[in-house]
């Protein structure tokens, strides 16, 4: 039996981002002991930490570089994802600052949890071994369970945490079982070895392996909140504190997609015939259920939850396309999605009141004439989510669809575009309220600088990616 971990195979430099971030996370825990009631120090530290992480991610050169018996990789995909993660976590933290003030969330570990979660995401995005993937997913999930329930005295927050926790664990069971079966039928947990193994046709028809794939689909499908494994999403998104919701909608989702892509598109391309169908069904279902569900919602967080489900549906097309264009479009989509989502939730926070109040869509009536700029940026985000030029959402969709078309997934694309037509309806519904209805009550909105700053970043990102996407696309398409 060869040693599992030969010392020389451990490459800490490749692991730098993970280490840096973990260290900072712990540092925050320590600081929190003395920090007292003032959390700004923690915020600052965590931001610095994220910055350091982003920098250290580029420490390893040349790429791709492997570590831990090829169970951890540094390549363009992971690098780009690390950037997305750091950005989204940073934005999430910025969003949280004033929100926590308002909601009276004093817990310093809040920031630590976000950082740990980010660590998990990084692992998830850069791991090429099923064990590693499992660990990553679990780290992410456990942090999120806690974050979802961080408003300890609020029933909805608790409930969200509970539901997320139970269902998450349940899904983990499936994921694990799937991994086991794959392991059992291929004899390895390493994706490269598995890929090698499934190259020969005889292995591909192994029912255990196929079974395993189905279970994996369920596991990942749950994490990215795709139908029919999406049921948790609306409740949790609604119940969780808004910054956490935003964070969940972007970071973990992106990480899960990264893993999804690595496992299916990179590892089992030969077997695509067998899983393409599954994913297509899930994708189509997600689009429809997401959009249809969103139409009837009156609570904006819940509506956005459904919309994120439908977006998961779109993004799945990138996995199905499983070509280089697919991966790069995935990257671009996630990045632009990060900007839009944080922007939207930023505005939701601005309009929200203490105790997660004032989140009904009708509360937005007449916003345009009280606070035109806010309303305008909200409109921009929503239209961008709908995929209207000249905003990031459009370029992202264009990218995504082109990947699918290149793969000849014409029907899927047509369904997708029809769905985005449907999605316009509910995105526009908000616009209708903001522009075309008279105000119901006086707006008591908290124009807090940092949150506004996040929104501003969101706007800039959305427009910039929409009009001058070239540089990012070039980066993404390596």
């Amino acid at each position: 039996m060869e040693p599992i971990l030969a010392p020389e195979s451990i490459d800490l430099i490749a692991l730098a981002p993970v280490l840096v971030l973990s260290i900072f996370a712990m540092l925050i825990l320590v600081l929190d002991l003395w920090g007292g009631r003032n959390k700004s120090l923690l915020v600052f530290t965590s931001l610095v930490g994220l910055l350091m992480t982003a920098i250290s991610a580029f420490a390893k050169y040349p790429i791709p570089a492997y570590s831990f018996n090829d169970s951890y990789v540094v390549d363009h995909l992971s690098l780009f994802f690390i950037c997305i993660f750091t950005i989204s976590s940073a934005l999430a933290i910025l969003l949280s600052v004033e929100y926590n003030e308002r909601e009276g969330i004093r817990a310093g570990e809040y920031y630590a949890l976000i950082l740990f979660c980010t660590v998990g995401m990084i692992l998830l995005a850069s791991s090429t071994d099923m064990i590693m993937i499992f660990l990553g997913i679990e780290i992410v999930s456990i942090c999120l369970y806690v974050l979802a329930g961080i408003r300890r005295n609020d029933h909805r927050s608790n409930e969200a945490a509970l539901k997320y926790f139970l269902l998450g664990a349940f899904a983990t069971g499936f994921l694990l079982y799937g991994m086991t079966l794959v392991y059992g039928s291929t004899g390895s947990t390493n994706l490269f070895k598995i890929a090698e193994f499934v190259k020969n046709p005889s292995a591909q028809s192994n029912p255990l392996l196929m079974m395993g794939l189905v279970l994996l689909v369920i596991g990942f499908g749950f994490k990215v909140a795709s139908v029919p494994f999406h049921m948790w999403a609306p409740d949790v998104y609604q119940g969780a504190p808004t910054p956490v919701t935003a964070f969940m909608a972007v970071g973990p989702k992106a990480a899960a997609f990264a893993a999804f892509f690595r496992v299916f598109a990179d590892t089992f391309p030969e077997m695509s015939s067998s899983w393409e169908m599954l994913l297509s069904i899930i994708a189509v279902l997600s689009m429809f259920v997401g959009n249809l569900g969103a139409i009837m919602q009156t609570n904006i967080k819940r509506m956005l939850a459904f919309s994120s489900i439908s977006h998961a549906g779109y993004i799945l097309m990138a996995v199905i396309a499983k070509n280089s264009l697919g991966s790069s479009s995935l990257l671009f989509y996630m990045l632009s999605y990060a900007f839009m989502t944080f922007g939207v939730f930023g505005i939701v926070i601005i309009l929200g009141r203490k105790g997660e109040e004032n989140l009904e869509i009708k509360n937005y009536s007449g916003l345009a004439y009280k606070h035109p700029v806010i309303a305008l940026s909200m409109t921009i985000f929503l239209l961008s989510l709908g995929g209207l030029p000249p905003f990031a959402g459009f370029v992202a969709k264009f990218y995504l669809f082109s990947a699918a078309i290149q793969e000849g997934l014409l029907t899927l694309v047509i369904i997708a575009v029809l769905n985005s037509a449907i999605s316009f309806y509910y995105y526009l519904k908000v616009v209708v309220f903001m522009y075309m209805k008279e105000p119901e009550a006086e707006f008591k909105i908290s124009l807090t600088p940092i949150t506004l700053f996040v929104v501003f970043i969101g706007v800039v990102g959305t427009i910039n990616l929409g009009i001058f996407p070239n540089s990012i696309i070039t980066l993404a398409s390596h």
């Binding site: 599992i4 499992f134 660990l135 509970l162 139970l166 069971g173 409740d235």
Partner: protein
């Protein structure tokens, strides 16, 4: 040795059965704790099959994997229980069906 006596399929059957038991438990029970237990059962079912595979294919990855699973399970237990306790503070019940403010 065991190999010759009990074929791999039996172990897999066992784990599958356990897994299904876990699922059913989650589906039908109301008590939060019990549901949680059932999930643990699922995880252990997985462990069984992992070990079995290792044993029969003379590998070692699975054993490591199962250790990881155990650790993670432990972590989950701690978090889960914490959540349940926090919940219990606000709403003294363990009946899962009473937690549905968030719906539709």
């Amino acid at each position: 040795m065991l190999e010759n006596t009990v074929p791999l399929s039996h172990y897999l059957m066992l784990s599958a059965t356990l897994f299904v038991i876990g699922i059913v438990g989650v589906l039908i029970r109301r008590n939060v704790i019990v549901v949680f237990m059932s999930i643990e059962i699922m995880l252990n079912a997985v462990n069984i099959s992992l070990i079995a595979f290792d044993n029969y294919m003379n590998l070692s990855g699975g054993q490591i994997f199962s250790f990881m699973v155990m650790c993670v399970a432990a972590a989950e237990v701690s978090v889960g229980l914490a959540i349940i306790i926090a919940l219990h503070r606000n709403k003294p019940t363990v009946n899962l069906d009473e937690f549905n403010l968030l719906k539709w």
